[in-house]
Symmetry: C2
Subunit: 335 residues, 2 copies
């Protein structure tokens, strides 16, 4: 139905090859005249090249797969935008793969992306990347870059911040503010990112000679409603604490809401901190003290690395690290 390169060739009275040449700017070996004629006809007949056919022969599409846990968490749209903007610059498009924090969906998506012969994959899992997935990713010979994951391997492309360091900064700040009983609302136990940040919490405490109170640590999916629920648990347990540090900003918002709901004032009665520096931290009352992760930039960088790898295979697989930055706002008070 649609007009093909063949049609164009006929109209222009040239061979398919020639048309293909001008279409791909292989100007070498095409007369200026024929070139112009072909371009005119292309214009006239509104010809659009068939990327699928092209993909079949070149064995590569200009599509990138973007695997992220949850597009509904405002942290990820930032990454997505960075990836998309950069990808577009280089002429790539992205297939969005939201995994809803389900390992099964992640693996499923990897398979699908392979089926589609994507040029590369940007993989941002909330889980510790396991050997199966890793192998699945590695054996398919599509290049991939990991976002915020697997910080212990030096040989794969990665973009990350050190969550342990970031959380240490935050907890240390809390300690400086004279907090000694700091509750911690963590992400899921099997989350790589969550484990890292939790480690930062422990380390910071130990470093300051403060004992870690296990009963002050709660685990759950990194959502607002879970922040709410886990704060409720904390409150119910009658445990004593003057601050709640949360795995991410969304959970912190949930904590804030539960606290307010109980008539507990933040930061007067209890201090609260988040992580990610998502914009919602700036619109709550009080504004939430948090740690910045340059999500947009990380997205850009991930895409850039990936594309560079795609187009020039000899690029080395070196990770890129971003510094987490403490953002002091209004949700912590000195006691």
């Amino acid at each position: 139905m649609a007009v093909t390169i063949k049609d164009i060739a006929q109209k222009a009275n040239v061979s398919i090859t020639t048309v293909s040449r001008v279409l791909n700017n292989k100007s070498k070996g095409v007369g200026e005249e024929t070139r112009k004629k072909i371009l005119d006809i292309v214009e006239e007949y509104n010809y659009v090249p068939n990327a699928v056919a092209k993909g079949l022969v070149t064995k590569k599409t200009n599509i990138l797969g973007l695997i992220i846990p949850d597009i509904t968490n405002p942290y990820y749209p930032e990454i997505a935008k960075g990836v998309e903007d950069t990808a577009n610059e280089y002429g790539y498009n992205i297939i969005l793969c939201g995994t809803n924090n389900q390992l099964e969906k992640e693996n499923n998506y990897i398979r699908i992306l392979k089926e589609h012969y994507v040029a590369g994959i940007i993989y941002n899992s909330s889980y510790s990347i396991n050997e199966t997935t890793m192998k699945q990713l590695a054996t398919t010979n599509v290049p991939f870059v990991l976002v915020e994951n697997d910080a212990d391997r030096k040989d794969i492309m990665r973009v990350y911040t050190d969550g342990e360091v970031g959380m240490e900064k935050l907890i240390s700040y809390l300690v400086e503010m004279a907090h000694k009983h700091i509750a911690y609302i963590s992400g899921p136990k099997d989350s790589y990112t969550a484990a890292k940040r939790l480690k930062g919490y422990r380390e910071a405490l130990m470093h300051h000679g403060i004992e870690v109170e296990e009963h002050l640590i709660k685990y759950g999916q990194p959502t607002r409603s879970n922040g709410y629920d886990l704060t409720k648990e904390l409150l119910r347990s009658k445990a004593k604490f003057t601050a709640i540090a949360c795995f991410n900003d969304l959970m912190a918002v949930g904590a804030l809401q539960k606290l307010r709901h109980k008539g507990i004032q933040v930061p007067l009665d209890v201090s609260v901190t988040g992580y990610d520096n998502v914009y919602v931290t700036k619109i709550t009352t009080p504004k939430i003290t948090t740690v910045e992760q340059p999500a947009y930039d990380m997205g850009c960088e991930a895409a850039r690395m990936l594309i560079e790898k795609i187009e020039n295979n000899k690029i080395p697989n070196s990770p890129i690290k971003f510094e987490p930055k403490l953002k002091i706002r209004e949700s912590v008070r000195k006691i």
Copy 2:
């Protein structure tokens, strides 16, 4: 490099056709034995079908294009998630096309989606869809559904809410609360959605015998920072108003921030309203009174309609309408 259907056929000592048959569950005409043998080999060699090749011959991929203005506006991830979830259910994937509110990018993306032979397009523009775009969409014979747009045509697939009605409800509520000088922070002048809601504002006012004060109406991109800036303008102009109705929630948040920044209390001194019922309206202080749009459901429905159309062309192109619902919270007071 990768294992193909041909390889499988060889290993199994059958023809390509037979393999293809079992792969596509055309169980008719394949012996249970060969079937099993083939499946085993497929498993063993970790065969993944090449969707690109398949797409070339069937002239259709299982990819949907999702065109949205800005994934960073929390309203759109809801839609995206609805679309993605539903698409996945039916075995489709989506290419994310963020247009950043640029008409040029919209058109560009439509071309790209055509190139990729997507099975269908979900188009959510902030602009009034113009004849060019419309034609571009219509002539390519890929089915498409419009989200929140072009409410005046009955013959194209669409999912929408009536922004005019929604805003009327909201403004009427403001009037009931005894507000007479209601400023309005609108989206861009050339935005279809913005025009509709603005019309609702005007209608509601007229309906209640209140004169529309043009100097109380400001226009701009629908972002938080613009809500902030336009509120600043409003304040600077010394115009008199007791309420600010905003085109969307993000702008309302911006207004809230500017107002607070100036020491103006909401809703004590000035009332503020949003639109969309994005979750941020529930975490500000005060919580923002707004109008609900069932974004997730709309996304689901859009995808469902589209896929139904793709798989069964005779489906009629009837629009689906969702009701906007007033959500009364804390940012409006009776004066």
